[in-house]
Amino acid sequence: MRPLLGLLLLASLALAQRVTLGAYGEAGYWTPSLELAYPLSDLTLRAQAQRGALGLGVERALELGPAGRVAYGALAAGGAGGLGARAFLQGGLGPAALEVRLAYATLPWKRLFVGWTDPAGLSGSLEGRYRLSPEATLGLALGYGDLGLGLLPWGPPAWGTEGRYGVRAGSWSYTLGLGFRQGPYALVGWRAELDEEGTVGEAVLRLGAANRLEARLYAPLGEDTLGLRLALGYPFRAAWGVAWGGLSLEGAYDGSYALWLRYAWETGR
């Protein structure tokens, strides 16, 4: 039986378009992780596994050229004594963009796959954006669950809503917004293309009931992009990530640590 399972695993790795192997660790627990993506005509089949849990999903996208793109998909996962299912729709068409995510699980999603931080039960989010003009964009988000900022849940699950108004001036853009999540808060954001190579820097600060700074930097390095991201919260908690080529390292701290090292191979299929 074992050689057969080994052969099946080898075949599934060989046929995948993208294979991501990882190792995740937090206090008193570690697991290897495996993510596979298979193209099948217009569909992309996905599989993800960790110790004692397996998830299978399917995605599809409508390519509308310069006018936009709409992707949607669903995934079901089981193991660790529980089950979960999730679905998403994300895309933009002309001046409007929409992102909808819905998830349900009988246990915290992290036990089904370490990359998910959604809570047990029902969670989801709805975000819409509309371009008022080439320079101005209006955004509105509503959701229940985790903020999805890093490897560990960012506080207890909660309802939250946020409105944003973004203005672009050349290659710089600014965002102002108000939100409510266990209390009201305000946000101010900045994003800029910093050079001719497409280097992008971004920072968003939220103050009020939520106190959080998120910063990102993406710069070309060799043939690939170096990505750095950091989220800091008060009371103190942190999430960070470094990615280059297929290699990525993520970490989080909320009183305890979590680390996830991954490497992705693209087979070009």
């Binding site: 310069p66 280097t199 993406y218």
Partner: protein, 210 residues
């Protein structure tokens, strides 16, 4: 006798014109490949006012930047010999597709010919309709129909500048004769842009390979 002469003359003319189409397209291709260039594409695409900035550099890299309509401003398309890149500003995504598979929908017309006139000749049966004038000067008028369906148009007309062989206007029509694209190439100039500069995109974009 007169009839025979007329037939002979027509046959000779069509042969000459047939060769001319090929030589015109070759001259355009050689001219456009001589050095990097950029131009503004202005007009109507699918009944919408549109404006694009087209830039071509060596290795046949073509970049089309959308300026109008406002909802597409910031989007761009990069066409290389093997791939088509579609950058979507609102969702900050870069969708990369093999050229054979990609369609530049929304325009409902394949503008990739701006980077490869020989490919246009392979897809559209063009004939020389005659000569005319444009703001830029005397032009050849080429017209034709696609050799196969699926291009989003059934009739094409291209005006090619005689003094500096390059397209100055393009009209594509559907089966009912309605224009799906009416574009003019303005402000043509030679450029110093490199292929790497044309492939520039925000590095935080989500890259999706299809």
């Amino acid at each position: 006798m007169r009839k025979t002469l007329a037939f002979l003359a027509l046959g000779l003319l069509s042969t000459v014109l047939g060769q001319s189409v090929e030589s015109i397209l070759n001259a355009v291709q050689e001219n456009l490949e001589k050095s990097p260039w950029e131009a503004r594409l202005v007009g109507r695409i699918q009944a919408q006012d549109g404006s694009l900035r087209a830039v071509l550099a060596g290795e046949k890299v073509l970049r089309l930047e959308f300026k109008k309509p406002p909802s597409l401003e910031g989007n761009f398309v990069v066409v290389t010999e093997k791939e088509v890149w579609n950058y979507l500003y609102l969702t900050n995504q870069l969708v990369i597709q093999p050229r054979a598979k990609a369609r530049i929908e929304g325009l409902n017309a394949n503008l990739t010919f701006l980077g490869d006139f020989r490919e246009l000749a392979a897809k559209v049966q063009l004939r020389l309709e005659g000569e005319g004038t444009s703001e830029e000067g005397p032009v050849w008028r080429l017209a034709g129909r696609p050799r196969e369906g699926g291009l989003g148009f059934t009739q094409a007309e291209i005006l090619v500048l005689k003094a500096d062989p390059r397209p100055v206007a393009l009209t594509l029509r559907d089966a009912a004769g309605n224009p799906v694209a009416e574009l003019r190439l303005l402000d043509f100039r030679r450029s110093r842009l490199s292929p790497a500069q044309l492939k520039r995109y925000p590095q935080d974009a989500q890259v999706v390979r299809r």
